[in-house]
Symmetry: C2
Subunit: 268 residues, 2 copies
C-alpha cells in the first residue's frame, strides 16, 4: 500500500528527483544526466506503475493521486501530494497533467534474445527525434510489434518527451541497443531467423512482398535522410509504401505504422 504524504514546501528534499526535469531524464553518461524515467499524467503514470521499471515516487495534486489509488493499492512507493503551485516551483515549470512519477531504469534487454523470440521487430537507424521515436513505440504497441532494436544515432526512448508521446508504451514494448559495428550487427538479427526488410521509398510495394505472417525485422531510417546506403545494402529485401509523386515522405512513425500493419499478425 502506497503511503500518501502531504508536502507543502517546494524545497522539501523528498521532491529532489523532480527538480530540473529538463536534465533528470538524460542518461547518466550525458552532462547533468541522472537517467531517471519520468512519467507525466494519469495514463502514463499508470503504465509506469504496471511496468518493470522500479518506481521511486509519485508527485501530484490530490485529485490525480486519488485517480491512481487502485493502481497504488498493492505498491510500496511514496506518493507526495501537493498543490499545483508548489509542484510548479519544485519542477521549474507548470505541468498541467497534475501528476508525475519517477523511476530508475530497468535492466537492459538483450538484443539477441529479443530477436530470437520476436515475430516482428523494428530496427531503427538514426531515428534521432524524441517525438518520432515515441510515436513509433506507440504504433508498435498498437500494431503487435514485439520489440524495437536501436541501431546507431537513435534518440533515447526513455527521454521524458519520448515517454509522453509514446503514451507510456516505451515502458511496455521491449527495446535493446544493437551494439557493435553497424550494419554488420544486423547479422545477429538475421541469425535469429528474421528477414531484414529495409523500408525505403524505392522498395517494392510492401503489401505484395510476401512478408505478411513471416518473421520480419523492419529496418527504419530517419525522416528526411532515410536509411544509409550501408544499411540498405545490408538488408535482405527492400520494401516501400507506394507514394504519390511530388509528396515528401511520410513521417517515420506513420510510415512505420503502415508497414507494421502490412506485416504484423492480427492481434486481438
Amino acid at each position: 500500500m502506497a503511503i500518501i504524504t502531504a508536502v507543502r514546501d517546494a524545497a522539501d528534499p523528498r521532491l529532489d528527483d523532480y527538480r530540473d526535469l529538463t536534465t533528470a531524464d538524460r542518461r547518466p553518461d550525458r552532462p547533468g544526466g541522472r537517467g531517471l524515467v519520468i512519467a507525466e499524467g494519469v495514463v502514463v503514470v499508470r503504465r509506469l506503475l504496471d511496468s518493470p521499471y522500479p518506481v521511486r515516487s509519485l508527485l501530484g495534486v490530490p485529485r490525480r493521486i486519488e485517480e491512481l489509488s487502485a493502481d497504488l493499492a498493492h505498491l510500496d512507493v511514496p506518493a507526495y501530494a501537493t498543490d499545483a503551485d508548489t509542484m510548479a516551483t519544485a519542477v521549474g515549470f507548470h505541468l498541467n497533467r497534475g501528476v508525475l512519477a519517477v523511476a530508475d531504469r530497468a535492466a537492459p534487454v538483450d538484443a539477441a534474445e529479443l530477436a530470437r523470440t520476436a515475430r516482428v521487430l523494428a530496427v531503427c537507424e538514426g531515428v534521432n527525434d524524441h517525438e518520432n521515436l515515441g510515436s513509433l513505440f506507440r504504433n508498435a504497441a498498437a500494431l503487435g510489434v514485439d520489440g524495437i532494436l536501436l541501431g546507431p544515432r537513435c534518440a533515447d526512448p526513455l527521454y521524458r518527451r519520448s515517454v509522453r508521446v509514446s503514451m507510456g508504451h516505451v515502458l511496455r514494448v521491449p527495446f535493446a541497443h544493437l551494439d557493435g559495428p553497424w550494419p554488420a550487427s544486423l547479422d545477429r538479427v538475421r541469425e535469429a531467423g528474421l528477414t531484414v526488410a529495409a523500408l525505403t521509398p524505392s522498395g517494392e510495394p510492401i503489401s505484395g512482398a510476401g512478408l505478411a505472417g513471416e518473421r520480419v525485422a523492419l529496418l527504419l531510417g530517419a525522416e528526411g535522410p532515410g536509411l544509409t546506403a550501408e544499411a540498405l545494402a545490408a538488408a535482405d529485401v527492400r520494401v516501400g509504401i507506394p507514394m504519390a509523386s511530388g509528396v515528401d515522405s511520410l513521417n517515420v512513425a506513420t510510415a512505420a505504422a503502415v508497414a507494421f500493419h502490412a506485416v504484423a499478425p492480427p492481434v486481438r
Copy 2:
C-alpha cells in the same frame, strides 16, 4: 516577375497582413478572423505559390527569399525582404523558418462534385485538432487520396498550424465542407457511387474487407471519442485496424494512413 522590396520598419503598412498572426488565419466569421492563409518556411511557401490560392505577398529574410527565386520568377506578387528582428517585431514572435507568405482563400470546392470524381475520399467527423487534421492531409496526399470532406465539428484546415503540420498539403488536396443535416449528408457521397466505410476499432479488419481498388469514402472520427453512433449507423460497412489489447487507439492521422494504404491504389 515578383518585385523584391527591402523593408526596414516593422510598422510599414505593407506588413499589415503579417500582424497578429494568431488571429489572421481565423475564418472571417470568427472574432478577429480575417481568413488569410499563412504559409511558413520555404517548402510550404513553395507549395502555396504552386496552389490555386491567390498569394498577396511574401515576407522573409533575404536568404530565404533567394531560395524561392525560381518559384517567384513567373509570379507577380510583392516580396518584402527584411531582417529577422524586424520580422519578429511585425509578426509578434520569433519565427525561425525565415519566410512567410499570405494568401486569400480560394473558391470553395463543391462536395458533390468532389465525390463524383474521386476514387478514394476521407470524410471527417469531429476531427477538431488542428495538428491531427494537418497530418491527415499530409498522409492523404502521400497515399493517393483524392479529397477530404469535412463533416461537423472539424478544425479549419487553413488554420496556420494545420497548414504547417500538413507540410502545405492542405493547399493541394481538395477539400469541401459536407453541409446539411449529419449524417444524412453522407447520402450525397453514396449517391456519387462511393462505399461509405466507417473506421472503428470494432470493425472487420480493413485489409480483408474487399475495399482495395473500390471507390471508397473512409469515414474518420476524432481520436478518443471516435465516430458517433449516428455516423457508424449511417455507414455501409464498418472496418477496423486490428489492434493489440490494452493499447489506446492510434492517433487519428496514423490510423487514417494505415487505412488509406489498405484501400488506395498504388500511385507512382
